[in-house]
Amino acid sequence: MKIFFLILITSLSWASFGSTPAKNSIKADSPDVESVSIKVHGMVCDFCAQGVTKHFMKQKEVHSVKVDLDTMTINLAYNPGQSLTEKQLEKMVKKSGGYDYKGVVSKLQKKDKAL
């Protein structure tokens, strides 16, 4: 019986690793994906947050977006192997509602397998 449960749990674990995660299911600060947190000036309301989120989610490089109005930051989680340059980020911040890009606050790199 114990062996049966062990096999079942192992199988389910493998299945969950193998399945494709739903869009937005990975948090921006997940260690599994490269993510970036950028500072933006001018975001003051939910319309701003909605505009930024919708605009960034249209980009193929972006997996999920989280806007923090308290800290005026946008947290982006990239799709595996993809990222945006600072110039692209600045352009998108402007297009998403005319906000001012103030640079990268933090960046979470995918762990180097060689290390």
Binding site: M43, V44, D46, F47, A49, G51, K54, D68, S96, G98
Partner: protein, 220 residues
């Protein structure tokens, strides 16, 4: 000919409005983020204004407007197309301020029979997460004179600050002045309660003259 054109325009606006409001989203400023559709309505017993904007750029949009003024007569209305521009944006660490202009041609029956008409709007607003101020002047005019001038000053305060995605509540005081060329205008002060959830914004209020007002904004 003019009357039939206006009726056609009204039907067009109605279809657009019904079509857009069937989505679960809706917007407020004359321009918004690139590719967005904003729907805004201001309703009171005397005057109604419905507006739909499509933003080509965050600083430029096209708009459709429909005014209805039951306080003049049941047939008093006007429809316009407009070009909307964000003339200047100020962004700081804590606040955002905007200067907008919108204007365009249309048809008006505010003075009885249909006339070619024009609309112009200048708006300034400034807000942070706790305080909000807006000043707006809108004019509807024909080649001879103005038909309606609308002035609005608003001040709002949020009793609490909520994170993005939560329900935001604002208490708003609004002073408005309506000045018709051929009809009695009025001044009024209205207190409004605003509820703001994601991309939906509703306001409901009562004026000192006893008028109930209902406004909404949504972005798609």
């Amino acid at each position: 000919m003019m009357a039939s054109t206006l009726i056609t325009t009204k039907i067009f606006f109605l279809i657009l409005l019904v079509g857009f409001t069937s989505f679960d989203d809706a917007q407020a400023h004359p321009t918004s983020y690139e590719g967005s559709v904003g729907i805004m309505g201001r309703h009171s017993p005397g005057l109604n204004h419905v507006q739909i904007n499509y933003s080509w750029r965050y600083w430029a949009a096209s708009g459709l407007h429909y005014f209805k003024a039951p306080e003049i007569s049941s047939e008093s209305d006007a429809a316009y197309v407009s070009a909307n521009f964000l003339l200047r944006r100020w962004n700081t660490k804590k606040l955002q301020a905007n200067l907008y202009f919108a204007g365009g041609p249309g048809l008006s029956r505010l003075q009885g029979k249909s006339k070619n008409s024009g609309m112009g709007l200048v708006q300034f607003d400034i807000e942070d997460r706790r305080l909000y101020f807006l000043a707006k002047h809108q004019i509807l005019f024909n080649k001879d004179d103005y038909e309606l001038q609308l002035g609005t000053i608003r001040f709002g305060i949020a009793p609490y600050v909520a994170p993005a995605g939560d329900i935001h509540t604002w208490l708003i005081a609004e002073y408005s002045a309506k000045n018709y060329r051929h009809h009695r205008g009025n001044e009024d002060v209205t207190t409004l309660l605003r509820f703001f959830y994601k991309n939906m914004l509703f306001e409901i209020g009562q004026s000192f003259k006893g008028e109930t007002k209902f406004n909404y904004i949504t972005h798609i």
